[in-house]
């Protein structure tokens, strides 16, 4: 075994069994017709990984179609730019009302630095509740209600009249 790492391939160095075997394996002759089979595989192989093939007229080899496409792109971009340019209104005056400058009158009254305070919005007003005839006394209303109740019970039960009744007894 050659243990010198700096000269691993000395021709006269003794080879280890591993290297002998590996050299035997490495010297295995290629099978007959290998080159022909590789040539055949290369002939039938697709040249490029192309999913979509252009028609012959539109192949990139044709320079005229390339020039036409470039001109069309330039035309579209230039036309679009021109369209935007012509639609934009230029020198549009600003919608600002310019107040005339107030020249202080000589000898006149001044505002004394007063600032106008704008009126605030009027606050919400709640509607007043409607009063139910304040002139009518409360006691009268109560008595009238009681009498009405009694009359209705007498009319509903005639045989149950007791003493003091104003109705005549028919059996007597």
């Amino acid at each position: 075994m050659n243990s010198n790492p700096h000269n691993p391939k000395t021709p006269d160095s003794g080879l280890s069994p591993a290297e002998e075997t590996l050299r035997l394996v490495a010297s295995v002759p290629a099978p007959e017709g290998l080159e022909d089979r590789v040539h055949a595989a290369l002939r039938i192989a697709p040249r490029t990984a192309r999913v979509f093939a252009w028609p012959k007229v539109f192949r990139p080899e044709n320079n005229w179609i390339r020039a036409t496409a470039a001109a069309a792109i330039v035309f579209v971009i230039a036309g679009g730019g021109w369209g935007v340019y012509t639609r934009v209104e230029r020198n549009q005056p600003a919608k600002v009302i310019v107040m005339p400058p107030r020249a202080p009158e000589a000898g006149g009254f001044s505002g004394a630095g007063a600032i106008r305070v704008p009126q605030t919005l009027p606050g919400p007003t709640a509607p007043q509740p409607a009063k139910a005839n304040p002139a009518r006394p409360k006691a009268v209303t109560k008595a009238a209600g009681r009498a009405k109740t009694k009359t209705s019970s007498v009319i509903g039960r005639p045989s149950a009249l007791g003493e003091g009744s104003s109705q005549p007894d028919a059996s007597k």
């Binding site: 075994m1 050659n2 243990s3 790492p5 700096h6 691993p8 391939k9 280890s16 069994p17 591993a18 290297e19 002998e20 075997t21 590996l22 050299r23 035997l24 394996v25 490495a26 010297s27 295995v28 002759p29 290629a30 099978p31 290998l34 080159e35 089979r37 590789v38 040539h39 595989a41 290369l42 192989a45 040249r47 490029t48 990984a49 080899e61």
Partner: protein
């Protein structure tokens, strides 16, 4: 064979690239097969790997002009392919059985018994090689190709030449220990 730089016509350029590729197939297919076989140890898988390598070259044939050393470049491509295949087929049983080795390895002037014994010996050695750490194993396998120098092995593996030498040193020591251990078990 160089691609003519004056080929302005696209078709002429493509034809020139095809010619370069065909020449590369004729020149390097055998070497690539041996590299692939040393890892996969299966003739059909090795041939598939070679074809895949050239198909990759076909897809990137426009970069051929930039490649300085096409042989090492191709070996690197096929090396990556076979390592990827080996990784993916780890669940499958190893195909480097004794009968396959006896069929493939050269055995001129040997009797049938001697061929069988040699095949068994090689199978044991290869089993020990498979037990090496990945980095050391890769360097040891590539060093078996006499046409690859230490610099070229470093290029294929993407490491420095000194790393190649130190890994090779470790691999040899480990292999000696593993073979001694195997011999003592017998």
């Amino acid at each position: 064979m160089e691609i003519p730089t004056s080929a302005v016509n696209e078709d002429a350029r493509r034809r020139a690239e095809d010619d370069v590729l065909a020449a590369m197939v004729d020149q390097y297919a055998g070497a690539l097969y041996r590299v692939a076989y040393s890892v996969l140890r299966n003739p059909a898988d090795a041939e598939d790997a070679v074809q895949e390598a050239f198909l990759r070259v076909l897809r990137h044939r426009h970069t051929l002009e930039e490649v300085r050393d096409r042989r090492v470049w191709l070996i690197r491509i096929v090396w990556n392919i076979v390592l990827d295949r080996k990784r993916r087929s780890k669940t499958r049983p190893e195909t480097d059985d004794v009968a396959e080795l006896a069929r493939v390895l050269p055995s001129t002037g040997l009797s049938a018994e001697e061929i069988a014994a040699a095949a068994q010996h090689h199978a044991r050695v290869l089993a020990c090689v498979d037990r090496l750490p990945v980095k050391e194993r890769q360097v040891l396998m590539l060093s078996a190709f006499e046409e690859l120098s230490s610099v070229e092995i470093a290029t294929v593996l993407g490491i420095t030449e000194s790393s190649v030498r130190s890994r090779l040193f470790r691999a040899r020591n480990l292999m000696a220990e593993l073979l001694d251990h195997t011999r003592s078990l017998r």
